[in-house]
């Protein structure tokens, strides 16, 4: 019996409860990763074209089925995750520092923010937005923080490389000048 590759792809993806790297699928299908990736992209495109209620997304280094965001209003009672409270400004600031500077230690975050941020880091760890990754090499090396797979999934990012350039967020020259004038003597 020959089974079309697309069909097997769909069946495997149906079992995924986390983003599935194309390489893993390739091993099962005995197909090179690049070919699997091309098939996945084509599949995702077709679902979009057919206006399906499911979406195939490449996020956090893998592929996974998602419900279409248009359908969100109907899905509330089928979704197990409870809505979580909005993050504080401090938490968002630390999250963006981790996203752009990962892997980064607690001490380095504190250095940037000018304040010990361990409480906020703990909150972000609990909310599964960041994760402790491997220790730096060497004894007594601090635990390093990176954003979690859950963060990337939620943001719809394949990796932190998909984040907009940090320069995008530098305050505009007007704001800089205003800040600066406040710092100048007798201004």
């Amino acid at each position: 019996m020959t089974v079309p590759e697309r069909k097997v792809l769909e069946a495997i993806l149906l079992l995924a409860d986390e983003p599935l790297p194309a390489g893993h699928i390739g091993e099962v299908l005995e197909t090179p990763r690049v070919e699997v990736e091309a098939s996945l992209r084509e599949l995702a495109r077709l679902y979009a074209e057919e206006d399906r209620g499911f979406v195939l997304r490449e996020v956090a280094g893998g592929w996974r089925f998602y419900s279409h965001p248009d359908c969100a209003p109907w899905l509330e009672r089928f979704v197990r995750e409870r809505k979580s409270a909005r993050l504080s400004g401090a938490a968002l600031e630390v999250l963006s520092i981790v996203a752009y500077r990962a892997p980064i230690s607690r001490a380095q975050i504190a250095e940037i923010r000018g304040i010990d941020s361990d409480g906020v880091v703990r909150t972000l760890l609990q909310r599964d937005l960041i994760t402790e990754s491997s220790r730096d090499s060497g004894p007594g090396a601090p635990l390093m923080l990176t954003v979690s797979r859950g963060f990337l999934e939620r943001m719809g990012l394949r990796s932190t490389g998909d984040l907009p350039a940090l320069a995008t967020f530098i305050p505009d020259s007007e704001a800089v000048e205003e800040m600066e004038s406040k710092l100048s003597p007798g201004a």
């Binding site: 995924a16 419900s67 965001p69 400004g89 999250l95 752009y100 940037i112 530098i170 800040m179 710092l183």
Partner: protein
Amino acid sequence: MPHEVKLEVFEGPIDLLLNLIGRRRVDIYDVPLAAITDEYMGVLARMETTDLETSTGFLVVAATLLELKSSRLLPARETDEVDTALLEGRDLLLARLLECATYREAGTWIAAGLEIGAAWHGRTAGLEPHLVDLAPDLLAGTSPEDLARAAAGALAPGPPAPELDGFFELPATVSVREAILEVASELGRRGRATLEELCGARLTPIDVVARFLALLELFKAGAVDLDQKERFGAIEAAWTGEADVSAALDAAEDYSLGRGG
């Protein structure tokens, strides 16, 4: 419509300064910057030893600023060494403030992204019943001791997580003037104490902010000397005995830690 994101949580000196500047509450030059700028000069001095990534990010912002500023500096100005040092200090401070402002802005973008992402739900059904039996044993390599360690980690009482979210929405109950009086009497008695000691058990962020500002005012008035051996080390205050607390009290009226105002 852009999502409204609350970004008004004060957490410490950098945040506080940034916010105060943004709200035009305080002319930053009136705050004695020497104690703070020393800290930033310290960063620059240690640049070679800090890790490259951290320092380059910081330097990029600093360089941008210096370039921005150079046009204003080009016309010859009377500058002596002290002025130059002050200027550099301010640039470093500004660079720090800008760096924080940049991450803060990135944070609002992330907040919007998380909000949008909440409408996407991943499939969670996982393996179908007939396939579950084929799956490798999840417990392979897990010992009862591993479980005990995990349980100990989860069940042991950690340090109480500070709940900072939105605390600044509350009307401030601590005034800087009161803090000055308290800090002055405490320092008068002890001679010297760290900021942490001065805050005692009441380590709410707003208490710390009030005492930090109180120390700055007392420093400006010449009532205390401040010392910080290393960044994020304890800020140590020493009573000079040349106290002019009333001047500090007068100045403190300019600060309002409450909402609005």
